[in-house]
């Protein structure tokens, strides 16, 4: 199933065109997207560093999801909405962008990693919450999250460099 018709349909909608042609919308949305991303990714990465065992050592690991995650989530909500509107403003520009799809894949994997941590790894947290080394599975979740969110940030920036996509991607002709 190709997503192209969906992107083409959204691209032709009057509200998408209006957003695309607005002078202020793009800078406003992009700036909000980047600033809210800092709020979100910064806190998540500190949590990841705590899982790995290199940051915020005096804190209980279980305090981070309950006491810090809601702040990160508010940043993610703004980032998600503004990112969605940026996508809606230029669907066909992003459809052919290699780094856009890479970013979406990294986000999906980061979400999966978070769900796995929450429903599996976190079940034994009482054994390693405070003052004890984190188990390998928790360290792996932290490293995976760091790598995936870093990939989201990097590919998000590289979306502005669509001409630097790998040759095999260009050969697919998806953007044309």
């Amino acid at each position: 199933m190709s997503l192209r018709p969906l992107f083409e349909w959204a691209d032709a909608l009057p509200s998408s065109i209006a957003l695309r042609e607005s002078f202020n919308a793009y800078p406003l949305l992009l700036t909000s997207h980047v600033v809210s991303m800092c709020l979100f990714a910064g806190l998540i990465m500190l949590w990841d560093f705590r899982l790995v065992g290199v940051a915020l050592k005096p804190s209980r690991i279980s305090d981070l999801p309950t006491q810090v995650f809601p702040w990160a989530l508010s940043g993610f909500a703004i980032s998600f909405i503004t990112g969605g509107l940026l996508l809606y403003s230029k669907p066909m520009t992003y459809f052919g962008n290699f780094y856009f799809w890479f970013k979406m894949l990294a986000m999906a994997l980061a979400a999966l990693n978070l769900v796995w941590f929450h429903y599996v790894t976190e079940k034994t947290i009482a054994n390693w919450d405070e003052g004890k080394p984190t188990p390998g599975s928790a360290k792996f979740a932290g490293i995976a999250s760091l790598a995936l969110w870093a990939a989201v940030i990097v590919t998000g920036r590289l979306m502005a460099y669509s001409g630097l996509a790998p040759k095999w991607w260009d050969a697919l002709g998806i953007g044309s």
């Binding site: 990714a41 990465m45 500190l46 915020l56 630097l164």
Partner: protein, 161 residues
């Protein structure tokens, strides 16, 4: 004052470093990505303390404990920001020089640094009973506003030249 710096920016623009970054396809994107990653870590290490100053976040720890834990991340990520920011400034020196957002960013950056390493540091390490209840909250709000504004102006440099 700023006018006097023009020859310095012209010199940077004409330098070999600038030429290298403008001629090499990947050097600018790589440095920009590293800069963004450093921003994320810097933002996290600022916010974790500011949220605690507001009386939220890691409340099982004292403000001082959170601030001391975050301090190395704050310092090292800031150094990474400088290391990755300077080549970007050199490579597009004249664009930066003529951008009002660049100067706004630099003024706020200077204020943010002075504020973070003087007033904010003093409040985070002080005895909470002596500081009072509203001072930490005010410090947190100023910190968030200043560093948030630095990020906004920085983003706008690239969008409006």
């Amino acid at each position: 004052m700023i006018d006097r710096l023009e020859p310095f920016f012209v010199w940077m623009q004409d330098s070999a470093v600038s030429a290298y970054f403008l001629e090499n396809t990947w050097s600018s994107p790589i440095v920009q990505c590293a800069h963004l990653l450093a921003i994320a870590v810097f933002a996290g290490s600022v916010l974790i303390v500011d949220i605690r100053l507001l009386g939220k976040g890691l409340t099982r720890l004292s403000v001082e404990q959170v601030a001391r834990s975050a301090q190395p991340w704050l310092v090292w990520s800031f150094l990474a920001l400088v290391v990755t920011g300077v080549p970007q400034m050199i490579s597009l020196a004249l664009k930066q020089y003529y951008s009002p957002f660049f100067w706004l960013k630099m003024e706020l950056l200077l204020f943010g640094l002075l504020f973070t390493f003087t007033i904010r540091r003093k409040v985070t390490l002080a005895d909470p009973a002596r500081v009072g209840s509203w001072v930490p909250k005010a410090v947190a709000l100023v910190s968030m506003a200043v560093w948030g504004s630095v990020a906004v102006w920085a983003r706008l440099i690239g969008l409006f030249s």
